[in-house]
Structure formats: structure tokens, C-alpha cells
């Protein structure tokens, strides 16, 4: 399921393992070590996302990795960065530029002016105007703990 998701953004090879319904980015040393320890881990390496009800939800760490190699990006201004991190959608006035194809329903990595990943957005085009629907953003790190 993770492969289906990453494939959308090009050929990114990830060495991962699965615990229950969650995926983790690992290396051989981590796997070797975990096999020597007799307990079941909660997590190993970097959390990449999880499967729920037949759907894959990427982690913010996975988006960060994929965004570095992707050409499907939207760059946003300061004001857009803050709004997006508060879980809001983006409007044209927030956008600096869009890279890659612009089509209704396309997923795009949302980047700030430093090309750092803030999350994932979906293009919505209505009456010729572009809106970016917030699918997931790094503000989630705060919201999760509330």
C-alpha cells in the first residue's frame, strides 16, 4: 500500500518494515539489532505512515522525504505557511508558484519559501480559480497532543 502511494511521486526506493499496520523506514543495522532483542517494538526507525480501513495515510516524515525528490510542489508565502500549518486551505494569494501539472484533484507537496515541506495539498479548480485543499500539514504535531 505504501508503494502505491510513493509511486504517485516518482521512483523513490524506501527500505521499510511493517509493525501491525504501520510502516517504518529502517536500515539493515536496525533490523539486525531488533532481531536480537526479545521484545516487540512500538516503533523502529522513522514512521512512514499507516494503513487504516484499506487506505494509506502518509506520515509527515514520509512527505518530507518524498518532497525532496518530487517536482509536484506548491511554494507558499509566509502568510500561506502559517495558515496552512493551522490546517487551513490555500488560495491563490498565498501561492508563490506551482511546479508540475496543474489539474483538478492532483496532489501537491506544499513547500515554504525555503523549499521545506509543510504537508500535502490537493488542487481544486473552480471557475478558473485555484484553491489548495489541506490534506495534511505539520501543525498536526501540535494538534495530536491536545
Amino acid at each position: 500500500m505504501i508503494k502505491k502511494f510513493t509511486k504517485k511521486f516518482g521512483n523513490v526506493e524506501l527500505f521499510y518494515t511493517k509493525i501491525n499496520n504501520s510502516y517504518y523506514l529502517v536500515n539493515k543495522d536496525l533490523i539486525k539489532l531488533s532481531k536480537k532483542i526479545k521484545y516487540k517494538p512500538e516503533s523502529i526507525g522513522l514512521f512512514l505512515g499507516k494503513e487504516e480501513n484499506g487506505r494509506f495515510t502518509p506520515s509527515l516524515a514520509l512527505l518530507e522525504i518524498l518532497s525532496k525528490k518530487s517536482k509536484d510542489k506548491i511554494y507558499v508565502k509566509d502568510i500561506g505557511e502559517i495558515d496552512f500549518l493551522y490546517g487551513k486551505d490555500l488560495r491563490e494569494r498565498h501561492i508563490i508558484k506551482i511546479e508540475g501539472e496543474i489539474k483538478d484533484g492532483f496532489l501537491k507537496f506544499v513547500q515554504n519559501e525555503y523549499d521545506e515541506n509543510l504537508g500535502l495539498g490537493k488542487i481544486k479548480i473552480k471557475n478558473g480559480k485555484i484553491k489548495i485543499r489541506n490534506k495534511i500539514d505539520r501543525g498536526d504535531f501540535l494538534r495530536r497532543e491536545r
Partner: protein, 283 residues
Amino acid sequence: MKDLLERYRSLGIKVKKFNIKKSIRITNKIKVSNLINRLKNKGILLKKIGFLDKGFYVTKSRFSLASTPEYLLGYFFIQEAASQLPAEILEPEGIVLDMCASPGGKTIQLAEKAKVVIALENQHNRIKPLLNNLERVSVKNCIVYNIDARKFEFKVDKILLDAPCSGNFIMDNKWFKRQTVENFEKNSELQKELISAAIGNLKKGGELVYSTCSLEPEENEFVIDYALKNFDIDVVKIKCPGDNAFTRIFGKKLDKRIRYCKRLLPHKTKTQGFFIAKLRKND
């Protein structure tokens, strides 16, 4: 409360409440100078903490640090100055065990230098914040277990045991109302069990840092004295702010090597209260 205040006088601790400076630790995800400049442009000013590698006081901030994009991008961890010391003093390398890991500030510090960090957390509700922080900072070399550290068995090169403790009055306004000597003694028993398990998991020649944010001898010097009496270990001299730990207290004569451990007294270090000991398992 009166008894505890008298006890503190005998321990040389001035009970003067003050607000400690907010501090952060910059992670390996960004170049230190880049983050300083980015935050400066937003009106957040930082000042280097002299005794720490990547610790900074926040001298001016107009808004909550945790709501900045830089925090959400994992470029820093909000972490009190004294609590940044144990992981630095351990000098992590090889396989490192973090016995009481959540919320993960020290785990992240360890992971920046260790080959692998094995992070243990006993309380299930503290696992989520730990995993969130590891993901936020993109830590790739950590394995997390939800397990009582006293039961964990695996030999490692280095161990950080930042033990559960009674805390201190700087971080808790009602500390004197909440705490009793019986509490300290109860904590001490748990801490002795934890340090015993830690030494059991340490390879010969391996090193262990024991720390608490408590100023009570029962939770600090007495625990180290117990470890020195029962295991083939030695105390390693450490370089950090603070007073030498007690070797005579409450009518008890403790192992002289304990003087190499440090107690950070708030009125002197301007940090929260802290105790740090570094031990080496003999070959």
C-alpha cells in the same frame, strides 16, 4: 512543609522561587546559524548557553515557540537547560539505551551521536508524545519499546537513566505542599531497582549517566552509594556546572567517590534543580 524547608536549609539550598529562562536545543536538522537568523527575523532572540553544546536561552519572543514553523519542522526542542546536560555528559556512541525516554528531548540528543538508540517508556500514554517528537525531528536510528525498564534485558555500550523522581520547587509551584520524605524514600527504592537493571544491561567498560531533577539525597547520592556498594563500577569525573555531591549527609557517611557527581542548585546555576552522576562498569 516547614520540615522540608528546614531540611533544605541543612542541604544548603536557598528556596527562592524565580522564573528560569526559557531554553531550547537546536537539533541536527538545521545549521545552528541558519536557525538563529530565521528566528531573529521573526523577533525571537537566542543567547548561547555557555555550558551546553547546542542549547540556547530564548531572550525575546513575541509568540509561542511551539507554534512556529521552525518548531514544527523539527529544528529545535523546547528543553530546560539543566536537562540538556545528561545526554551531553554521556557522550553517546555505539548502542545507547535510554531507559525512561518520553517525551524524547534527551532521546533526540542521544540519536544525533549514537549508532542506535533503544528507547524505553513504561507508561503507555507517554509513548505517543515520544513518537511524535521522534517523527517531528526525523530520527531514523531509534527503536522504541513500551516496557518497564527494570525488566528489559539487552547489553549495550552506554545508558542514560534519567530516573522518575519527586521533581523540584522551581518547576512545580506546589512542590512543598505535595512532597514528603516518605515520597523521596519510595522513589529511592524504584531508582535503586532501575540503576541495578541499568548496570546489568551495561557492557564491561560501558558508561551510564544517572540523573534526576530532584535535589533529595535519597534520590541521588544514596542511589549512587547503593550502586557503588553492590556492583563493580566506578564514578567518572564530569565537567559541568554545579556543586560536588554530598559524601556525608543526614548522619550517613557515603562513598567518597560520590563527590565527583554534581548537584545543580537553582540559586547558583539559575537552572532547575538537577543531579548528575556518570558511572563506568569495570572490565
